[in-house]
Each structure stands twice: as structure tokens, then as C-alpha cells.
Amino acid sequence: MARQLIKGNEAIAEAAVRSGCRYYFGYPITPQSEIPEYMSARLSEVGGTFIQAESEISAINMVYGAAAAGGRAMTSSSSPGISLKQEGISYIAASDVPCVIVNVMRAGPGLGGIQPSQGDYFQAVKGGGHGDYKLIVYAPSSVQEAADYTYKAFDVADKYRIPVMILCDGLLGQMMEGVELPPMRDLSALPKKDWALRGWDRNGPRRIINSLRIQPDELERYIDGLYKKYDAIRQNEIEVEEYLCDDAEIILAAYGIVARICKGAILKLRKMGIKAGLIRPITLFPFPEDTFAMHAEKGSVKKFVSVELSKGQMIEDVRLAIGGKKPVAFYGRTGGNVMNEDDVASFIAGGK
């Protein structure tokens, strides 16, 4: 199939439709507005529903309703809008409802700026909303991956009945690359959802989508069950790329678009005689701890450097995974500034 040259945001939207998403609810915010724009036209072609909601809060609760009723549903936003969605995300997670949430990150905190950032790592990976819960978080690094992981996200969400987040940044959302789009799914072949609301015909149990468990023991049992589910996800769903790590003495840790910049830097460093490599978590939760731990054990590896568009968020997970076996340095930019490969290469070459 011929490749198309499309924006990351458009790739996400089209891949969602092809994966069976027929319900999209969103609210405009830069730099992700191409997603609702695309969906408004595309979903009407395939008999789906697009609603420009009155707020991010309403949008995520419409997703909650549509997904609770068994539809493949998605919302997208950028950082401040994702903050508004957190209440709904917590409820969805606590009702075992599958859905997909896209965060095309921009610089925060507050209204911040509209340029690229990775400042929402903690929010995405550590919870975001209230209570003990997790999302599966995919961090695509190219427009092709933005399409592929959005496509996959709906399947994984259904498999575990969990909200899945696509975490990318304004740069990936806005840039264009050649993409081979996945095939259009046959909706009738999607797994049946016996648990979903549809009207109770008096056969089997009544369906109740609910996150209220007012008895402490009942709620604790439920949360224990959630964490069993997260353990299974850790077993099965970790995805990570290792780039030139075999002989690396310095291992960079980066995700999303920054990993691409780091690859460019690594090629330059290797020309300078510095053996650098990269571990790129593709799933931020579950985090590829074992990959980091394995390299940390190697005598040849001298140190790790976490490179992020933040003041240092993923670095905490890198440190936890490495368990103090090797030093971990940090290089980052904030405010919407994006480092280039020379910046990263000179930081590493400078031996900091």
C-alpha cells in the first residue's frame, strides 16, 4: 500500500477510525486541533459520532458513556485540557471501561505555551487523577508509530478493560512523515463486550458501570484486583527499543520525539569516538525496568543520561530501574524549546 505524507495528528485520527473508533468527543486546543477537525469530517463518512463538547470535562464523560455502552471511543487534547479530563479518567479506570485518550503535549505549567513539551510524564504515568490506578501509556516516536500505536491502543484497551493514553508532543502532532496506514477493521469482528450497557433483557446479571465502592473492604479488594491486572500488563505489554546499546558506554534514555533527536546525537557521538546508545521506552507504563536494569549490570556501561523536554520526570523511573548501580545524569529543555542533536551531543561529549 502506498505511503501517505500526513501529520502526526492526522495519523492518530485516521488510525483510530481504522481501528474501529466510531465515537470521538473533544474540544479544541493547540497543538492537537487537527484531530477533532479530522474526526468531524471522517466519522460522518463511516457512520460514527463526532461531538465538539462544551468542555474537556464533558468530552471525557461522553467518552465514558460511549465506552461504557460498548463503543470504541476516543478523546484528544493537549496538556491543560488533559488536566481537566483527569476526574473522568479516574472514574473510567475505576469502572474498568476501555477507551483511548490522546495527549499532544504542550509546555506547562498553567496555560504555559503551545510549543512541544514532555512535562506531563508524571501526570500520564503516575496517575494524574485521584486514587490508585494506572493507564497504559504509549509514547510514539514517529508519525508511523503514532498511527500504529493508536491502532493498537484500542485492542489493548479492550483486552484489559483499561484506559490507554497516547502520549506525544506538539512536534510529533504537527510534523509530517510518510506513513503506511493500517487496514480498516471489520467492526463485526471486534470482540464482544458482554459487560457493556445495552439494556437488560433479564437474562444474566444486570450491568452496572460504577466506580463507587463505599465499603472499605470492598474497595480494597477492587484495587487489589486492579493491581493484579497491572501486573499482567507488566508481564505482557512492555515495549522498548534499544538502539546501539550492545557496546555502549553511555546510555541515553529518551522517549517520543526526543528519542529521535538522541539517535541523531548518538550517530554524531560515535563519529567522535564516544560509544553512546539509547534505551527508548515505548510503553511508559508499564516501564521497561528490566531493560535498564540489565544494562546497568554491565561493566561496560559507565552511565545513563535521561534526556527530556521537562525538568526531569522520566529520570525518576530510570533511577528506580537502575537501583543506584550507575550514575544517572539529566539533560532537558522546557518552555517549549526543543534541543537539537548538537545540543545533546555536546552535553554528552562534555562529560557532564
Binding site: I57, N61, Y64, A68, G199, D201, R206, I209
Partner: protein
């Protein structure tokens, strides 16, 4: 021979509502109406946060429990997936008229084909009697201990407000303070549900109810309070009915 029976659309679980509270009556009216339309098996209800948070335990349908104020948004998502199901929201005044005002107004403006049962008892019951957006002037609550005055702002009139919106199909306010009013409430609830079955659009029935516990009154006095005080601020009647507009046109 007509024999009274409990509707099969309520479960056998005893209500947790306080003695004398009319929530239970409204539950029964809604469940009976749906049973009478014969659409029980194609009904999905949405419970709010507030006193009726456990409504999913009482209504014998597929049910969802929404976040505080978000029932109309959740109902929108459900209805779009199952346009042939009857989807209703059961919401209190704090839920619908305070934290969920935006969701309510915009569901109406979209002409969303759902039915909202709006329980207005002028108080936050579940959290212990704080001032509601619908607490009437002079009425005491734990966060306006001297009675609501201008300093607290004025009570919101939902039916009057929604009646101004093009997307609203039907908005009526009814009461539960005596048998006649309860029967009238049932008529309004049936109409609001039938509108949805007939795919007419957004319908809301505001039901004035009591809260003997947090109003610190006997049940009888609380019903009298609705009749003598609440109705003065919240007059009963139809505020919008596009059926009538069509007839009159």
C-alpha cells in the same frame, strides 16, 4: 380488578432514603412509567452523585453511575451508541444545577434525545445540609446558617432557563407535596420519556421534593413547606413544550 403491584423495574433492595423523603416516590414513578411503555429491556439509567448515588441499586435496568454533574455528558455518549435505548438521567439539584450546569445546558442545546429527571429539594442532602444552588431565599442551610440572603446569591431557575434554548423540547416543573401533585408528576415524567421514545429530543422534568432531615422538619411540615414556600419561588407548570408550539403554529 385492578390490583396494585410493585413495578418490576424497581429492585427489592430497601431504599436508604430518610423517612418521609419523596425520592422513593419519584423512583417509583419513573420505574412505573418505563414499565408501562414496555421498554424496560431497552432502558439505561444514569445515577448522579448525591442522595440518589445508589439509584443503580434500586432501578432494575442496566445502570451507570456518573461523576458529579456529568450525567448528561455520559448519557450523551451512551445514547449515541444505543440510539434505540431509552436513556434517562436522575439528578439532584447540586448535581444538575451547580457542578453540572454546563453539561445540562449543552445537552439541551444539542437537543440530545435524552430524558432528565431533576430532583430539586433545595439542599445538599448527602453531605449534610449545605446550601444548594436551589436553596430558596431565607431557607437555612449549614453554609447559610442565618438563611439564604443576597450575600449568597440567588437560586437558579433551571426550567425557566432551559425554556429559552432552542434545543430544549420539553421542560416542566412538578411537585410531590400531595397525591394530586404526585399523579401530575407521573404524567409529566411519562411525557418526558415518551418524547424520547418518539425521538423528539431533550426533555426535562424538575420535581420539587422535600428533605425532612436537613430541613429539620417533620415529613408533613416539609411537604407543607414546598406548598407554601418553595412553589412561590419555583412555580409549577410547563415552561416549554414544542408539541404545543407545533399545535399552536
Amino acid at each position: 380488578m385492578a390490583v396494585f403491584h410493585k413495578t418490576k423495574d424497581l429492585t427489592s433492595k430497601p431504599f436508604h432514603y430518610c423517612p418521609g423523603c419523596t425520592h422513593g416516590i419519584v423512583h417509583r414513578l419513573v420505574a412505573e412509567a418505563i414499565e408501562e411503555f414496555g421498554v424496560s429491556e431497552k432502558t439505561i439509567g444514569i445515577a448522579p452523585v448525591g442522595c440518589s448515588v445508589f439509584a443503580y441499586d434500586y432501578f432494575n435496568f442496566d445502570m451507570a453511575e456518573a461523576a458529579h454533574g456529568r450525567a448528561p455528558a455520559m448519557a450523551t455518549g451512551i445514547k449515541r451508541v444505543h440510539p434505540d435505548c431509552l436513556v434517562f438521567c436522575y439528578q439532584g439539584d447540586g448535581d444538575l444545577a451547580s457542578i453540572g450546569t454546563a453539561e445540562t445546558v449543552h445537552a439541551a442545546c444539542r437537543g440530545e434525545n435524552i430524558t432528565i429527571i431533576f430532583i430539586n429539594n433545595g439542599i445538599y442532602g448527602m453531605t449534610g445540609g449545605q446550601m444548594a444552588p436551589t436553596t430558596i431565599m431565607g431557607q437555612k442551610a449549614t453554609t447559610c446558617p442565618n438563611g439564604r440572603s443576597g450575600i449568597n446569591g440567588y437560586p437558579i431557575k433551571i426550567c425557566e432557563m432551559l425554556a429559552t434554548q432552542e434545543g430544549t423540547y420539553y421542560a416542566e416543573r412538578v411537585s410531590t407535596h400531595n397525591v394530586k401533585q404526585v399523579l401530575n408528576a407521573k404524567r409529566a415524567i411519562k411525557k418526558a420519556l415518551k418524547n424520547q421514545i418518539d425521538k423528539k429530543g431533550f426533555s426535562i422534568v424538575e420535581v420539587l421534593t422535600n428533605c425532612p432531615t436537613n430541613w429539620h422538619m417533620s415529613p408533613q411540615d416539609s411537604l407543607k413547606y414546598i406548598e407554601e414556600k418553595v412553589i412561590l419561588y419555583y412555580p409549577l407548570g410547563i415552561f416549554k413544550d414544542k408539541d404545543a408550539e407545533v399545535k399552536n403554529a
